[in-house]
């Protein structure tokens, strides 16, 4: 990719997606959803080792993105209206979140400038000097060793509150789209024909299925496979067109 976007590890999927879009919006006409999705998935790859909560957020955004992409790839799909509405809702929610994130990101740049100025004037934090120490009331008038120990244990206990509770345990996709594409190609190299269900039989997570689906669409675009589906909801059948090298 020609885009050099410096991404913060704490940015999260919304922030990253925003960065990716902003990097491209220099030339709006050049924005390609395909590239966006690819870059986003690459970012996911980089973040595999991150905590589960982050992973979940990535999943949600990835799923929305992929759904958007799939809709574009298959414009004539015959989903019912309810699905269509849900899809637009999801997309709108994503856009709203991106816009909100952008507002805070932009204002935070102003904060940065204000802070830069603010640190040049350092405030006195010394407080009461020794010459007036005797005027300060004793903050620990009723101090005893037991209270001290209790306070210490209480502080440590408060610290044990989990900062990042393991809420959702959905794993990140184990494979990239490129790898999924290779696996499908390998599968078809052996069998020549297969249904999509057969290809993803070993997939453990829903996102793995989505990744394979994207891989399949890419193979179709490359002209390596032919895809047929008799009806909406019927098995998707794949047929190998070219021997992969």
């Amino acid at each position: 990719m020609a885009y050099e976007v410096k991404l913060d590890i704490y940015e999260g999927p919304i922030g990253i997606l925003l960065s990716l879009i902003q990097a491209r919006s220099l030339d709006v006409n050049q924005i390609s959803l395909n590239e966006l999705v690819t870059s986003f998935l690459a970012e996911i790859e980089l973040r595999r080792a991150l905590d589960l909560e982050v992973a979940t957020e990535f999943l949600l955004v990835a799923a929305t993105l992929m759904e958007i992409k799939c809709r574009r790839l298959l414009p004539g799909s015959e989903d019912d209206d309810q699905d269509e509405d849900d899809f637009f809702d999801e997309r709108d929610v994503l856009i709203a979140r991106l816009l909100e994130a952008k507002a805070y990101r932009d204002v935070s740049a102003v904060f940065a400038a204000m802070l830069e100025e603010g640190i040049r004037r350092v405030g006195r934090r010394v407080g009461f000097g020794p010459e007036v120490a005797h005027l300060v009331p004793d903050p620990l008038a009723s101090l005893n060793a037991e209270r001290l120990a209790e306070a210490y244990v209480a502080v440590l206990g408060r610290n044990e509150e989990p900062e990042m509770p393991p809420t959702h345990v959905t794993p990140l996709p184990r494979i990239s789209v490129a790898e999924a594409r290779r696996r499908i190609a390998e599968h078809l190299a052996r069998t020549r024909r297969a249904t999509f269900d057969e290809v993803v039989r070993d997939a453990e997570a829903r996102l793995d299925v989505v990744v394979h689906f994207l891989g399949m669409l890419e193979l179709f675009k490359l002209g390596e496979v032919d895809i047929t589906q008799a009806l909406a909801g019927a098995p998707i059948e794949l047929r190998l067109l070219l021997e992969s090298a």
Binding site: G15, P75, A101, A103, G118
Partner: protein, 192 residues
Amino acid sequence: MNPSGVAEGLAAALEALILVASEPVTLAQLSRAAEATERDCELALAELQRRYCDSRFGIEIASLAGGYRFVTKARHHRAIGRFAEETFDVRLSPAALETLAIVAYQQPISRRRVSAIRGVNSDAVMRMLAVKGYIHPVGRENSAGSAVLFATTTLFLERLGLSSLADLPALAEFEPSVEVAESIEAALREEA
């Protein structure tokens, strides 16, 4: 003592009070401690602030975070940087700045809510901001056991050079323009 002597004595007392405070001191606090009317204090403070404007002084009395406070003049920041005790480093990462912005505009706010807006768990960043003294817990959502709510501190106002939260930049001005919204929408609409 003549009237000007009183005013002079008051200014000196206020100066001493501002020196021992480790946070901005409000007019009300000064008035109570100096046993003078707020009006008299205000006059004395104006005189004090004027005095320190003189370039011979390296320090001044700033009106910040709703109070008065001794600060160094900006042009000495390099010398102070070299002295840097516990380092006055306040460079914040983009993630920390974003988080701080959300807390500033939405306070009081829970960690979870901040995470929801940012779309990424922000507990660690929030914790760091609290340890640095930019935000602090101010209560709980409903009752004991529910989420802790955070707000910005006087240190935050001070470091941004604001006298109150009302002086924050208006968020409305940062709402993305229609063109931006359209370009984001286009990015998600464009066919592959």
